[in-house]
């Protein structure tokens, strides 16, 4: 199982790759500030949320079925990483 810091690093890289935000460095994204509100270095919109959800599902082998939960999960890097850790603690999904 990956540790929280590693998942945060991978999450930031994943978001930037998925949304083609290459010139931005993962280190510039703050872990505790909303990605949706416009207060972080990057701002993701409702279209991007689904892209990020699908990318997270593939990368970490977890499921996020519900968009309402998705918005809460994708809110910050911290919330994404905590969700991934909590899912991984429950064991892997069948491939």
């Amino acid at each position: 199982m990956q540790d929280l810091q590693e998942i945060k690093r991978e999450t930031k890289k994943l978001i930037l790759e998925t949304l083609n935000m290459d010139p931005i460095s993962p280190d510039d994204i703050r872990d505790d500030v909303s990605l949706l509100s416009g207060e972080n270095t990057i701002k993701i919109d409702s279209i991007d949320v689904l892209e990020v959800v699908v990318a997270i599902q593939r990368k970490f082998n977890v499921r996020i079925n519900d968009q309402n939960h998705a918005r809460m999960i994708v809110d910050t890097v911290n919330t994404i990483a905590e969700f991934v850790v909590s899912q991984q603690q429950q064991g892997p999904l069948p491939r």
């Binding site: 409702s46 892209e51 996020i64 079925n65 998705a70």
Partner: protein, 337 residues
């Protein structure tokens, strides 16, 4: 201050989530997918009428139908009321809260100002529970919000009496009788039969699987309804909202239906339904792919006939999968005692 001790929980869909939370409060331990499935909430429709400037897609039965069907199939009696007078609606809501009765209500989501502004859009068929009041504020258990929230009397009134199609008209509901014994296996079977009928047997070409096929066939005609590419992009993007964003639980309600089938497998002691649950989960993933495809081409304004044709093919493949799925489920259901 009146605050009812109420177990707040998030849910995939507002109507089934609100009903579930109310029933849990009244001591009935039931899950949201079970409420949704027993009520036969899954559906598909493709509408284009002279009243609608643009074709419209829906993936569930009409708002309120989950409450009606679940009530009928479970034997749980609900009081339901609509109002023309906002003050009377407010007085009656206050009285119920003061008596310790949590109340489900219908509102326009836009006025639920405890949500961040970027989240709020006008949907006047949103459901939530009112579980207390203090001064000029109400305490709200909204299944899309992580904690119990507060809303002003004024904002709630605006939400309850917003206009438009399917206007809430102060609609409120609460259970008044929960039978000691509920025939869950019977309700599950009726719910599955209802959904199979809705998806396969309604003799109208725009409902059920036939509606999915019509959607697939007609998507390439959408440019003729749009005044420009921006409007077309907006309408194509709405496919994503309809499938993923409007409290569908994702995949156009197919994920929540998959959870229902998993529970149904245990209730009916039919392991085969576990396999159907996995099939339905995969169908939900395919609808999510349609949603992603729609949002990508809308974002890039890549809306030529070739792209729309590709999307039509994805939708048609889902029609084939759902036809096969519900035909097989029909066999299973007809073999149940």
């Amino acid at each position: 201050m009146s605050q009812i001790v109420f177990s707040h929980a998030m849910a995939a869909h507002c109507e089934s989530g609100t009903i579930t939370a109310l029933l849990n409060h009244h001591g009935l331990h039931i899950t949201e997918p079970l409420v949704f499935g027993i009520a036969g909430g899954l559906f598909f429709g493709y509408m284009k009428t002279p009243m609608l400037p643009f074709p419209s897609v829906f993936v569930r039965t009409r708002p309120g139908k989950i409450l009606d069907n679940f009530s009928k199939r479970s034997g749980i009696r609900f009081i339901r009321k609509r109002y023309s007078d906002p003050e009377k609606a407010e007085r009656e809501l206050d009285a119920l809260i003061d008596q310790g009765q949590p109340v489900g209500i219908q509102v326009d989501f836009f006025f639920m100002d405890f949500f961040p502004s970027w989240h709020r859009i006008h949907i006047n068929v949103h459901f939530l529970n009112i579980i207390g009041r203090e001064g000029d504020q109400y305490l709200v258990s909204d299944s899309y919000y992580p904690v119990i929230a507060r809303i002003s009397r004024e904002a709630l009134r605006k939400g309850r009496f917003a206009g438009g199609s399917m206007a809430p008209k102060g609609f409120m509901f609460y259970p008044v009788h929960v039978p000691a014994e509920i025939d869950m296996p019977g309700g599950v079977k009726k719910g599955m039969r209802n959904t199979v009928f809705n998806m396969l047997k309604i003799p109208l070409p725009f409902l059920g699987v036939k509606g999915i096929r019509r959607f697939a066939d007609k998507i390439t005609e959408w440019p003729k309804y749009a005044r420009d590419n921006d409007q077309l992009a907006h309408e194509i993007f709405r496919i994503n909202i309809l499938l993923e964003d409007q409290g569908t639980g994702g995949g156009g309600f197919r994920f929540i239906y998959a959870s229902f089938l998993r529970e149904a497998s245990g209730i009916l002691k039919e392991p085969i339904l576990e396999v159907y649950s996995k099939r339905m989960m995969a169908i939900g993933d395919d609808w999510r792919n349609v949603s992603l495809f729609a949002s990508r081409i809308a974002k890039k304004r890549d809306l030529g006939l070739e792209r729309l044709g590709e999307m039509g093919n994805l939708i048609r493949a889902n029609a084939d999968l759902e036809f096969s799925f519900f035909s097989d489920l029909k066999q299973v259901v007809s073999n149940l005692s």
